[in-house]
Symmetry: C2
Subunit: 138 residues, 2 copies
DNA sequence: GTAGAATTGAAAATCATTTTCAAAAGCGAC
DNA sequence: GTCGCTTTTGAAAATGATTTTCAATTCTAC
């Protein structure tokens, strides 16, 4: 997981228009969004916003650049959100209201060397999301 | 995550034929299998084995009974495997050979009370899978 | 401007999973 | 056994997110 501490602004110039639009949208949101949601939201405010295909492509490159992370919740739909460039984090996802709490530290990274020692397995990535009921919904 | 310490044998009687066939197949395998793989394997050895729809339904009920767990690897395909009834575990999945190491302890369950205290969030489930390169493939 | 490269998007394809719905199997009552 | 009813099964169709195609548009360099 190499970090890429490039400023969003610096990177922004090299992005395609579609990617810039998607990035801008994500900057305004604090929650996990599906590709289709992003597409709808963009189209709502601008008739000529990027098409769905372009949104998918934009998300792919933003993820590759480390500006956005893709989150797997186990339903068949990926979610996306802006992250600190090169970093990632996990969530507590409320099954009632679907809101999620962004965790500040990764529980898995700390374990990587122990896993290496015990199993000879070199960790390159992971999925971790926690489900339950949040304070408000309880 | 209530445990259901019913013996596989005891439960087996109440299962549909389709579920029994799927369960038997899973008992012979030590690896994660997709629904389609399970279906093919069954059909290979028996022309009249359950159809794909039945396999999906069988997996659903076996998971509900706690005999089988469903594993999310982030590609669009769920994997299934036999577990100690009512329990679950996570994996180190090799990206080269696709083999996976079954971990013996869950890293998340220990954290549930801390999460409750810190966030007022009542954990009911989670996804956790770790990717990388195994000893042999390295 | 002009040629060649990169970007875009509508429509079609893909593919795991779910739904439909009618046939087959199981089952208790008689 | 047979009748009537419930459960199970499975082929085919539907679903739905994502990917692929491919032709049109936009950029970029010269
Ligand atoms: Mn987040
Ligand atoms: Mn396992
Ligand atoms: Zn992490
Ligand atoms: Zn666990």
């Amino acid at each position: 997981m190499a970090k890429q501490p490039q400023s969003t602004v610096a990177v922004n110039a090299r992005l395609t228009k579609g990617s810039q639009k998607v990035l801008q949208l994500l900057e305004k949101r604090n929650s996990l969004s599906t590709a289709q949601e992003i597409h709808s939201l963009l189209r709502n405010e601008d008739e000529s916003a990027p098409g769905l295909t372009t949104v998918y492509r934009a998300l792919e490159s933003l993820v590759a650049l480390g500006l956005v992370q893709s989150v797997e919740l186990g339903d068949g739909e990926k979610r996306f959100e802006l992250v600190t460039p090169g970093e990632h984090h996990h969530h507590l996802v409320c099954e009632r209201c679907r809101e999620s709490i962004h965790l500040d530290q990764c529980l898995v990274e700390d374990l990587e060397s122990a896993i290496k020692t015990k199993y000879g397995f070199a960790v390159t990535g992971h999925i971790l999301e926690i489900f339950g009921v949040c304070k408000r919904c309880k």
